[in-house]
C-alpha cells in the first residue's frame, strides 16, 4: 500500500450542505469524472489530485448523508462500499467534512466512521459561519477526545487545503480514532455469529450488516439467508437497536460538545435569514418573487441562448461543405458529414441552454433559495405526486426538455424525480415553436378578437396550456401506478442564506455539459446516423433513375440548375427508405388526417421537432432561401390529396398535427437524456410508448371532432 505504487484512495463523506462538493472541487479542480456505481442509478464522482511531490490520490465524492443508515438509493451506495473491503472503491482513508456551525449532526456520521475503524480525518468547515454565530470550537481538545486528525478548512476560499493534503499524505498510525459506541452489549451472540459468518473483525460493521444486509450487494444470497435466520433466532429488535444507537451516540456527542464547544448567542445570520424569509416565503410576495425570478431565467434562457445557438447552427451548416471539399467524395464522406457531423451539431446545439440553466440552478442551490422554493411549492406539487423541487425543472421544460431532465437531480426522492422526468416532455419546448408557427399560420386567420386579442397568439397559448395540463394529469396517473420500496422522506435542512461560490457554479456547469456531451451525445449521434441512412438511401438504383428521369423531362429543361436539384432532392426523399416507411405507416396515421408525406416528416423530425419544417420544405421542393416559410405555407395550402383531390391541410388535419406534436416524444435527444438519467432503457421506452399512444388518441379525437 505504499503511496508510490498506487494512488491513495480517499472517500469524501459528509452531511448535505456541509460544503462537501466545494471541498471536492477545490481538491480536484476540473480533474474529475463521473462514472457509475455498478447496478444502481447513482453517479460516482471521482477526482484525482497531487497529494505530495511523489504521490497522487484519487478521491470519491459520496452522496451527502446524515448517518450510515440510508434512506434513499443514493445513500445506500455509501454503506455498500464501506462494508465491502473487496470493492474497488473501498477507501484507504476517509475525509469527513463537518459544518462547524452545526457540529452535533456532523459528529453522528463521524462517530460511525470512527467505529468502523477507518483512518479518518475531520475537515472542519464553515468556521466563519460558526464565528458569526459566536460558536467557538476548541480544536485541540476535540482532537484529543476523538483521537483523529482535524484540519480547519474553508471550502469556500480554499484555505486549509494544503494542510489537509499534508495530513493525508502522512502515514499516521494513531489516527484510527477512539471508539465511540459499543454495539456488542445490544446483541452479543448475534454479532459474534455474524462476525464468524462473514467473516468480520469489526463488531460495529457486523451490527450494520445485521440491520442492512437485505440490500447490501456485497453479501451473497446464501449468507443473506443465514443472517436472516440468525436475526430471527436471536429475537433482536433491529429498529430498537438502531434507535438505541442514535440515542447513545448523541448522548456521548452531547458530552463532547459541552467540553469543546462554547456557544454564544450570535444570531446575525439567522436574523437576516429570518427577515428575508418573511418576504421570500410570504403567501403573496413569495410567489410573486418566484414568478419574476422564473420569468427572468426563461427570458435569458430563450434570448441569451439564441445567439450562441445560431452560431452553432451556422458553423455546422458550413462545416459539411468544407469537409466535402477536403475529403474525396463518396459514401463514407457523406456518412461522416451528413450523418455524424450533423448529429454532433445537434448535440452541441443544446450546450448554450444547458450551461445557462445549470448556472441558474447552481446559484439557486448555493444561495439556499431552492430550499425555499421547495418550502412554498411542496403542498401544491405533492397533490400531483411531485415535489416542491419539481417546479424549476418542470418550468424550464418550456425552453428545452433536455437540460430540464438533467436538472431533476435536485429531487432526492426517486419516485418524485421519475414522475418529473416523465412529464417534462409534455411541456411545450422551444423546438415545437417552428412547427406550431407554420401550422397556426396555415389555419388560423391573422385576426383580432374584440379588437385586441390576436387569434393566432391565443391558439399558441392554448397549445402551451394543453401540454401543461396533460403533464399534470399524467403525473396524477403515475402517482397511482409507480410503486417504490423506498420510503420517501421530505425532511431537509432550511439553510441560512449565503452568497454563491462561483467556482462551484462554474464546475457544476462544466460537469453537466460534459455528462450531456459524452453520455447522451453518443445516443443522439447514433440515432442521427440511422435517420440519415433512412432519408438518403433507397432500394436498388432508384436514385439514379430519378436523376435521369428529372433531367430528361422536357418541361423541366428550362429551369435553372438549383431548382432542378431541389426537385431531385424532393423526389429522392419521397422514394427513400424514410419515404417507404412514410407510405407504409399511412394506413396507421390516416385516421389522424395525415398523409404519407406528413408521415415522412414525422419520421425525420424524430431527430428534432423543428426538422419538420425542413423536411416539409424538401418534400414540397421549396425554392429560394428567403421567405422560406411563406412559400412553404403557400405550397402546403395548395397541396391536394392524391386520391380525393381535396386539400390536405384542412383545419382538422393541422390541429390534429399540432396536438400530435404537443404530446408525442418526437425528440431523440430527450430519449437519450432520459436513458442517461434513469440508467437504462426501461423508462425511456415506457415514456416513448405512452406519449406516442397518448398523442395518437388525442390527435384522433381532435381530427374526428373537427372534420
Amino acid at each position: 500500500m505504499s503511496p508510490s505504487t498506487r494512488p491513495l484512495k480517499i472517500a469524501l463523506i459528509g452531511n448535505p450542505n456541509s460544503g462537501k462538493s466545494s471541498l471536492f472541487n477545490h481538491l480536484t479542480g476540473l480533474n474529475q469524472k463521473v462514472a457509475n456505481f455498478p447496478g444502481v442509478t447513482v453517479d460516482k464522482r471521482i477526482g484525482s489530485f497531487r497529494l505530495s511531490e511523489s504521490s497522487t490520490a484519487t478521491i470519491l465524492d459520496f452522496p451527502g448523508l446524515v448517518s450510515l443508515y440510508p434512506s434513499s438509493e443514493d445513500e445506500k451506495v455509501v454503506i455498500d462500499v464501506l462494508s465491502n473491503p473487496a470493492s474497488e472503491d473501498y477507501p484507504d482513508k476517509v475525509i469527513v467534512i463537518a459544518d462547524a456551525s452545526n457540529l452535533k449532526r456532523s459528529l453522528l456520521l463521524l462517530s460511525q466512521i470512527i467505529d468502523l475503524k477507518f483512518p479518518a480525518v475531520l475537515a472542519l468547515n464553515m468556521l466563519d459561519v460558526a464565528k458569526r454565530k459566536e460558536i467557538k470550537i476548541n480544536t485541540p481538545e476535540l482532537k484529543n477526545v476523538l483521537g483523529i486528525n482535524i484540519v480547519e478548512i474553508n471550502a469556500r476560499t480554499g484555505t486549509g487545503i494544503k494542510e489537509l493534503k499534508e495530513v493525508l499524505s502522512k502515514a499516521d498510525p494513531d489516527t484510527k480514532g477512539i471508539p465511540v459506541f459499543s454495539a456488542k452489549p445490544l446483541a452479543p451472540e448475534l454479532l459474534i455469529s455474524i462476525c464468524e459468518l462473514m467473516p468480520l473483525k469489526n463488531e460495529y460493521k457486523a451490527f450494520l450488516v445485521a440491520q442492512q444486509y437485505s440490500f447490501l450487494r456485497s453479501v451473497p444470497e446464501e449468507k443473506k439467508k443465514k443472517i436472516e435466520e440468525l436475526c430471527k433466532n436471536s429475537c433482536a429488535d433491529l429498529n430498537k437497536m438502531h434507535a438505541q444507537e442514535i440515542v447513545t451516540r448523541y448522548k456521548i456527542i452531547d458530552q463532547i460538545i459541552s467540553k469543546v464547544v462554547t456557544t454564544g448567542n450570535g444570531t446575525v445570520d439567522k436574523e437576516f435569514s429570518h427577515r428575508l424569509d418573511n418576504i421570500l416565503t410570504h403567501k403573496i410576495w413569495g410567489y410573486v418573487i418566484f414568478l419574476i425570478l422564473m420569468f427572468i431565467i426563461f427570458q435569458i434562457l430563450f434570448e441569451g441562448a439564441a445567439y450562441p445557438m445560431k452560431m452553432v447552427e451556422i458553423f455546422f451548416s458550413y462545416l459539411p461543405g468544407v469537409i466535402h471539399d477536403i475529403l474525396p467524395s463518396g459514401i463514407l464522406t457523406d456518412l461522416f458529414t451528413d450523418g455524424i457531423v450533423a448529429g454532433l451539431g445537434g448535440v452541441i446545439m443544446f450546450l448554450p441552454q444547458i450551461l445557462l440553466l445549470f448556472a441558474f440552478i447552481a446559484i439557486l442551490e448555493e444561495t439556499g433559495y431552492m430550499a425555499r422554493v421547495s418550502f412554498i411549492m411542496d403542498k401544491l406539487m405533492r397533490s400531483f405526486g411531485l415535489n416542491g423541487r419539481s417546479v424549476v425543472p418542470l418550468l424550464s421544460g418550456v425552453a428545452c426538455a433536455v437540460p430540464s431532465i438533467m436538472a431533476t437531480r435536485i429531487i432526492s426522492n426517486w419516485k418524485e424525480r421519475l414522475i418529473t422526468i416523465f412529464i417534462i416532455p409534455l411541456m411545450s419546448c422551444s423546438a415545437r415553436l417552428p412547427v406550431y408557427t407554420i401550422l397556426i399560420a396555415l389555419t388560423i386567420p391573422d385576426k383580432k378578437m374584440f379588437g385586441w386579442i390576436n387569434l393566432q397568439g391565443l391558439t399558441l397559448m392554448g397549445l402551451y396550456l394543453f401540454g401543461f395540463i396533460a403533464a399534470l394529469l399524467t403525473a396524477i396517473v403515475l402517482k397511482i401506478f409507480i410503486k417504490t420500496k423506498e420510503k420517501g422522506f421530505f425532511m431537509m435542512e432550511l439553510p441560512v442564506y449565503r452568497t454563491p461560490r462561483w467556482k462551484n457554479v462554474f464546475v457544476e456547469m462544466m460537469e453537466k455539459a460534459r455528462v450531456f456531451i459524452f453520455d447522451a451525445g453518443k445516443v443522439i449521434v447514433a440515432i442521427s446516423v440511422v435517420l440519415w441512412v433512412l432519408a438518403s438511401f433507397a432500394p436498388g438504383d432508384t436514385f439514379s433513375t430519378i436523376e435521369q428521369e428529372v433531367k430528361n423531362t422536357p418541361q423541366f429543361s428550362g429551369m435553372n440548375e438549383q431548382d432542378i436539384q431541389k426537385l431531385i432532392d424532393s423526389r429522392k426523399l419521397q422514394e427513400s427508405y424514410a419515404g417507404i416507411i412514410g407510405r407504409s405507416i399511412e394506413p396507421i396515421i390516416r385516421p389522424l388526417g395525415f398523409d404519407w408525406k406528413i408521415g415522412i416528416a414525422l419520421i425525420t423530425s424524430f431527430a428534432a421537432r423543428e426538422v419538420f419544417v425542413g423536411t416539409m420544405s424538401t418534400i414540397y421542393s421549396v425554392s429560394g432561401s428567403s421567405n422560406e416559410t411563406k412559400t412553404l405555407q403557400e405550397k402546403m395550402r395548395a397541396e391536394r390529396n392524391e386520391k380525393t383531390g381535396l386539400p390536405v391541410f384542412t383545419p382538422a388535419t393541422a390541429f390534429s398535427l399540432m396536438i400530435f406534436y404537443a404530446i408525442a416524444m418526437q425528440c431523440m435527444s430527450t430519449l437519450a437524456v432520459v436513458f442517461r438519467e434513469t440508467k437504462g432503457w426501461k423508462w425511456p421506452l415506457i415514456q416513448l410508448f405512452y406519449l406516442s399512444a397518448l398523442a395518437y388518441i388525442a390527435s384522433y379525437c381532435v381530427y374526428r371532432i373537427l372534420i
Binding site: 443508515y69 452535533k104 449532526r105 434507535a243 416565503t281 422522506f489 421530505f490 425532511m491 435542512e493 432550511l494
Partner: protein, 90 residues
C-alpha cells in the same frame, strides 16, 4: 397516517404539528418507528427542544428550529413527534 391521527385524537396527545408559530415544546417520543429513526438522526431526540418557526403558505410543510438548525418537515412527519406536555416552553 389516518390511524395515527385517530390515535392522537383518542389520547389527546399533542404533536409537533399542533404547535403554534413561535411556540416551543420538548420532544417526548415518536409514534412511527421508521420515521422516528430518521428524525432522531436529524437531531430530533427525546428531551430536545423544538420550536415551530414558520408554516408554508398552504399550511404544509413547516419549518422547525431544533438542535441548532432549521428543519423542514411535512405535517405527516411532524405529526409523529409526540410532545412532552408536562414541560411547557414559551
Amino acid at each position: 397516517m389516518n390511524f395515527i391521527r385517530f390515535y392522537e385524537i383518542c389520547t389527546l396527545m399533542r404533536t409537533a404539528a399542533n404547535l403554534k408559530t413561535g411556540e416551543s415544546a420538548i420532544i417526548d417520543h415518536f409514534s412511527d418507528s421508521e420515521v422516528s429513526l430518521k428524525l432522531m438522526e436529524m437531531g430530533c431526540l427525546p428531551g430536545e427542544k423544538i420550536r415551530l418557526e414558520r408554516i408554508a403558505p398552504f399550511g404544509d410543510p413547516a419549518a422547525f428550529w431544533v438542535s441548532g438548525y432549521c428543519l423542514l418537515l411535512r405535517l405527516e412527519e411532524a405529526r409523529t413527534i409526540i410532545l412532552d406536555e408536562s414541560k411547557v416552553y414559551n
